[in-house]
């Protein structure tokens, strides 16, 4: 059972454009929603994360929009650059206890073209 659904699977954006990746979750107990960025040959790196008590979080060109009622969250990359070309994963977890685990989406391959 996939608890976090991510779309699209791949995305091509022109330099300077806005990249948008969407995720939907099922478990209403989730209370932490991170996005990870992964370059080829590297491990995923935490990019930005949000808790459900806010609807938006912005860090530089990266913004998470969160819709609790729809159980959806999305990553927006403003002014996309070729260096943003990577695979992006959304994830969700509940609590901070020792056993809390991340449930990942299936990933989005982003390519930013010149």
């Amino acid at each position: 059972q996939q608890q976090v659904k991510q779309s699209p699977q791949s995305l091509i954006v022109q330099k300077g454009g806005i990249s948008i990746i969407n995720c939907a979750y099922e478990n209403t107990a989730f209370d932490y929603f991170p996005w990870y960025q992964q370059f080829p040959g590297k491990g995923p790196a935490l990019l930005i994360a949000i808790r459900p008590d806010v609807s938006e979080k912005k860090e530089g060109r990266f913004t998470i929009s969160f819709n609790k009622s729809a159980k959806q969250f999305s990553l927006h990359i403003m002014d996309s650059q070729p260096g943003d070309s990577a695979t992006y994963f959304c994830a969700a977890s509940k609590g901070t206890g020792g056993g809390n685990k991340l449930t990942f989406g299936t990933g989005t391959q982003l390519k930013v073209e010149l």
């Binding site: 932490y32 991170p34 995923p44 020792g98 990942f104 299936t106």
Partner: protein
């Protein structure tokens, strides 16, 4: 900065071999995780540990075991490697009371 290191970047093993993947973190984190990453499937949790000598099964533990004898080190063991265990293996660590998980660079394992 949190640093999670994995013993090998690339590994090629034969079917039936016993395989050890090692992970070390330097931030005194209580919790450590092993994931495998496959195209189109994302990251799936194999095992995790919330304390020394403690372990819990994740979503896909079959064919794997783990060992955590020291706080900073978490090992993944493939008792008898099979071709369907060809994958990217990622280790992560997390401090208790915190949400953030930090990943190592991964080990790409090929079983022939």
């Amino acid at each position: 900065d949190v640093k999670v290191t994995q013993s090998s970047r690339y590994l090629v093993k034969r079917t039936g071999e016993k395989v050890f993947l090692e992970c070390v973190q330097d931030m005194d984190h209580e919790n450590m995780f092993w994931y495998r990453q496959d195209p189109g499937l994302g990251l799936r949790l194999i095992y995790f540990s919330y304390d020394v000598k403690m372990k819990e099964k994740g979503d896909i533990p079959e064919g794997y075991s783990v060992s955590r004898e020291k706080k900073e080190r978490f090992s993944l063991i493939l008792e008898s490697a099979s071709t369907n265990q060809t994958s990217m293996y990622l280790c992560a660590s997390k401090a208790s009371g915190r949400y953030e998980q930090y990943f190592g660079p991964g080990t790409r394992l090929t079983v022939t």
